[in-house]
């Protein structure tokens, strides 16, 4: 069992990239992308931190004139937006993208180009947000951007538009990363890594990825409502026309509270990786810990109303959410007690990463306790919108995100760079950060009790707030110095730090099996896993094997191609060889065009109208099969006994990356439409007459006929899949064309129906939601039509064969989804007004 030098140099060539600017721009390797996320996130963190310092200077003295109200509003909004959307979530995704393949024992994420695309989208939207500061158009409505303050009547500038478009782009980037993380964890684990051997960090990240899939689309929908209200006079949040500003809060906080857990669950995952290493024993309570991530993930979607206790909801309704807010302390507590038990039974090794873990425990518990306090409705009403809340969430987020992250960077820095971080300067930075943080934020609890409201740019003298505010400002600079020392340590060690061995901390998890820094291909031989801490409890992570063959050799991995092993979801049994795409400029081009499309919404819709077809063209180019992809030998070949490639595995009933990618795209689309339908019922439940005003309930006959035309499309799609399985590619192409024509017929009916309506999106809230759901579905059908057209083209060109069905199956999945999604939407729009219309009230 050895890997020859030839094989290693071939792997290096295969997985490497040219050391040029174009090579840099076209990189898709998970380590390159992950590192870029981390560095970019740290830059945004520093910018947001500077914004915080400027605010602290302003608040140091009463009636200070260092900043005016407008500048302060922009700074506190940018601080929140940057910390939430540009730092906390993306940097944790970056850590995950860097570490996941290393921890799972694979060579890359399953969608490397998508991974790169997500990063560029994130970067462009972050630059857009911060650039707007220099033009005085930075968002200024708070990171939560409440309607109706954010409506054009009260915020007429571009500030809110920039918030809505940039945040929507960031959501796209987060969703891309989430799909990437889930698919990689599901099907790219090393052989033997059953679900009960998955590292806790990975558990945390996967739960976060699922949360992103369910939490982010509602915010995209809310942002769409807001932009439509601002740009084309819809009435989603206009109470005078049947809208409801509280709808914004529901949609925002359905995203916003899970967002808090999305930020700190990865922190808990990092802590779960550090603690065993520095306690010199396996973590205590692996199963409860993994489960606590799952439970937190579910419960986080049942607590959003606790942000709305002051909005006049029914007390009993609020109390159900109050209960969930209390109960979530249990799985959070499990994390802390498991950590303490592991310390108790372990042999502690006091190094800087462990200090940050101790800092995390102290601060996070403090934040958790105040969290339980504000889960109580009467208490929450007392401290609502005061500095007590500011203190609470900084204790939770800095405790749950920043301290684990700083500890994690310290822990993995040797792996990433091959150099150790300085210990003395590391300890100094920890203590300054820890002390500075507590001195800055603890007094805010007291200020809150003293009645100081948050988001005020100044205050009058004589209220008793002066001393504490000045103290906090000084302490904030202590915190800043601590963080500055940390960054200086990073730079200094990167240049001249002592060399690190492959496993300098003696850790037990797989990433430490690689060289420091890891090679482009991560593992010369894909490992086999038989334990939670394979480096501690296995003589070797290579297979017990009579024939002395590595998994690479046994399953036919060719070092000359970007291939890695795909395994089953629960038991990690090897099933396929996944061929990974190589470097490409397409991701950055696609991200740039997406940016153009979104930014057009702010400045001129013509730009967006140009951007949409451009985007379609770019995605078309993205999906053109490579010349090698046409070669049957390339997609089906391999040594005897080798696993099938992912391109043909689909025909054997194995779920391929394409299957998973399409499944999650469909899931995201479904969540978007579910958010739209829920908004429809929410708006309906708040008015007596529905449809509002003089609008009659919609005609059912034409929409029903149009819908039947769409649904009949299921028949040719079914026939297409069947033809493909039989190797009848002409039948496949014809069936896809038939489905396309039926979908186009549906579009025709839809245009006819909408053109004949005597109301539009600007008539009232009913018109707004009715038109939006119809147009959104219209767009969804257009996407399906485009996919069917491309698939039919490739079917006629002979690309799809009996074995190579992957793309055709994925298109069929989307076509089916389009039909299925329309069923509840049709019932919602066309039948419920008769069942629950104005006559019922």
């Amino acid at each position: 069992m050895s890997t020859s030098n030839d094989a290693i140099s071939t792997l290096e060539r295969t997985w490497g990239r040219p050391r040029t600017i174009l090579g840099w721009l076209s990189a898709v390797n998970h380590k390159a992308i992950g590192l870029r996320y981390i560095v970019t996130g740290l830059v945004f963190f520093m910018l947001a931190g500077i914004a915080a310092l400027l605010m602290r200077i302003q608040l140091a003295f009463p009636e200070n004139t260092f900043l005016n109200a407008q500048a302060y509003n922009q700074l506190f909004t940018m601080h929140g937006v940057a910390m939430m959307f540009l730092f906390a979530v993306p940097i944790m995704e970056g850590v995950a993208i860097y570490l996941l393949p290393l921890k799972l024992g694979t060579r890359d994420m399953v969608f490397p180009r998508l991974n790169a695309f997500g990063y560029w989208v994130y970067l462009f939207s972050g630059i857009t947000l911060f650039t707007s500061l220099f033009f005085g158009t930075a968002p200024d409505g708070g990171w939560f951007n409440y309607a109706p303050l954010s409506e054009s009547r009260y915020s007429p500038g571009l500030n809110i538009d920039i918030w809505a478009t940039a945040v929507s782009m960031l959501e796209v980037a987060a969703l891309v990363a989430a799909v990437e993380i889930i698919a990689t964890t599901f099907i790219a684990r090393a052989p033997g890594m059953t679900i009960n051997r998955i590292p806790l960090f990975v558990w945390a990240i996967v739960i976060v990825a699922f949360m992103i899939v369910f939490a982010m689309p509602p915010l995209i929908v809310a942002s769409l409502f807001l932009e439509m209200d601002r740009k084309i006079a819809t009435h989603f949040f206009n109470a005078a026309q049947g809208g409801d500003p509280i709808l914004w809060q529901h949609l925002f906080w359905f995203f916003g509270h899970p967002e808090v857990y999305i930020m700190f669950l990865p922190g808990l995952g990092i802590v779960s990786a550090i603690i065993p290493t520095f306690s010199r024993r396996p973590i205590i309570g692996y199963i409860p810990l993994a489960l606590s991530f799952v439970i937190i993930g579910f419960l986080s979607f049942g607590v959003w109303v606790h942000h709305m206790f002051a909005t006049g909801r029914a007390p009993l309704g609020m109390s159900l959410f109050s209960v969930a807010s209390f109960v979530i302390a249990i799985p959070s507590g499990i994390q802390i007690f498991a950590a303490l038990a592991t310390f108790w039974y372990g042999r502690l090794w006091f190094r800087v990463p462990l200090l940050f873990v101790f800092g995390f425990i102290f601060i996070f518990v403090m934040g958790g306790i105040t969290g339980v306090m504000i889960a109580s409705i009467p208490f929450d009403l007392q401290v609502h919108d005061t500095y007590f809340i500011v203190a609470h969430f900084h204790y939770v987020i800095i405790g749950g995100v920043l301290f684990p992250l700083l500890g994690g960077i310290y822990y993995w820095f040797p792996k990433v760079t091959g150099r150790m971080l300085g210990d003395v300067i590391g300890q100094a930075s920890f203590w300054l950060t820890f002390i500075g943080f507590n001195l800055t934020f603890f007094p805010m609890h007291i200020l809150g009790f003293m009645g100081m409201p948050r988001r005020v740019y100044t205050y009058l003298p004589g209220l008793g707030w002066e001393g504490l505010n000045l103290f906090q400002t000084v302490a904030a600079f202590v915190l800043a110095i601590g963080l500055l020392l940390y960054f200086l340590n990073l730079v200094r060690s990167l240049i001249g730090g002592s060399r690190a061995s492959d496993n300098p901390w003696g850790s037990g998890e797989l990433e430490w099996l690689t060289s420091s820094p890891p090679a482009n291909y991560n593992f010369a031989v894909v490992p086999t896993v038989r334990d939670l801490y394979p480096l501690w409890y296995e003589q070797t992570v290579l297979p017990e094997d009579d024939q002395a063959m590595s998994p690479d050799e046994r399953f036919g991995l060719d070092p000359g191609r970007r291939e890695t092993i795909g395994t089953s979801v629960l038991d990690a049994v090897p099933q396929q060889r996944m061929i990974q795409p190589s470097i490409s400029l397409i991701p950055i081009v696609a991200a740039a065009v997406l940016w153009l499309t979104f930014v057009g919404l702010v400045f001129d819709v013509i730009i967006t109208l140009i951007g949409i077809p451009l985007l379609a063209i770019v995605f078309l180019i993205w999906n053109i099969p490579s010349s090698r992809g046409w070669d049957p030998e390339y997609v089906s070949g391999g040594p005897p006994g080798s696993l099938p490639t992912n391109m043909v595995a689909g025909s054997m009933g194995i779920r391929t990356p394409a299957w998973w990618g399409m499944a999650f795209l469909i899931l995201i689309v479904m969540v978007v439409f579910a958010s739209l339908a829920t908004s429809y019922f929410y708006l309906r439940s708040h008015v007596i007459d529905w449809p509002i005003g003089a609008i009659d309930p919609p005609d059912v006959v034409i929409p029903l006929v149009g819908s039947l035309v769409l649904w009949v499309g299921a028949v040719p799609v079914w026939f297409a899949v069947r033809s493909a399985r039989k190797g009848n590619t002409a039948g496949l192409g014809l069936a896809f064309l038939a489905a396309l024509l039926l979908s186009a017929g549906h579009i025709g009916f839809k245009v006819f129906e909408l053109a004949g309506l005597d109301f539009n999106w600007a008539t009232n809230a009913y018109g707004s939601i009715f038109w939006l759901i119809n147009v959104a579905h219209f767009a969804n059908v257009l996407v399906a039509i485009a996919m069917l057209l491309v698939a039919a083209y490739y079917a006629f060109r002979g690309y799809f064969t009996r074995e190579r069905l992957d793309g055709a199956n994925a298109v069929a999945m989307y076509a089916y989804a389009t039909l299925i999604i329309w069923i509840p939407l049709f019932l919602t729009l066309y039948l419920t007004p008769y069942v629950w219309g104005s006559s019922q009230t």
Binding site: P191, G192, T194, I195, N196, R197, I287, P288, A290, L291, V294, I295, F298, F301, G302, V305, R313, A314, P315, L316, G317, S319, L320, F321, S322, V323, A324, F326, V327, I330, P331, T528, R530, D531, L532, Y537, P543, E544, D545, P551, R554, L570, D571, A572, V573, P574, S685, H686, T841
Partner: protein, 134 residues
Amino acid sequence: MTEDRRERQQPEPVGRFALWFALAAPVVIWVVFLNVGYVLIGMECYWSIFPFSAWGLSGLRLVLIGMTVLSAVGIILASIIGLANWRAVGGERGPQRDPTGRYRFMVIAGLILSGIFFLQLVWSSVHIILTDLC
């Protein structure tokens, strides 16, 4: 790999439906309970959709109590199935390389989920009886 092959050759110690029901039912039940309950409360306060009462309890409270009881029955059922599953795999002992460790993991997961969501339900029921409606 030999170990993976062994895993695949083992007969499944727990039925697939029983395994997934015990795992997923508590969560699904709680999600439905919370969201339907919240919507019904909001609609009652806006529209008075339950214009009846019995035993001194308003219509909405009766409906919510009924929902709580049904949800509790569902979670208890999931727990019973989970316990049966646990007995089926309970003879297993660590370490991690246990051939059916994955089942054991999923069974324990189901039991913990049942426990936490049952607790949630009990706590909610106290509010349903005692807290003001609107």
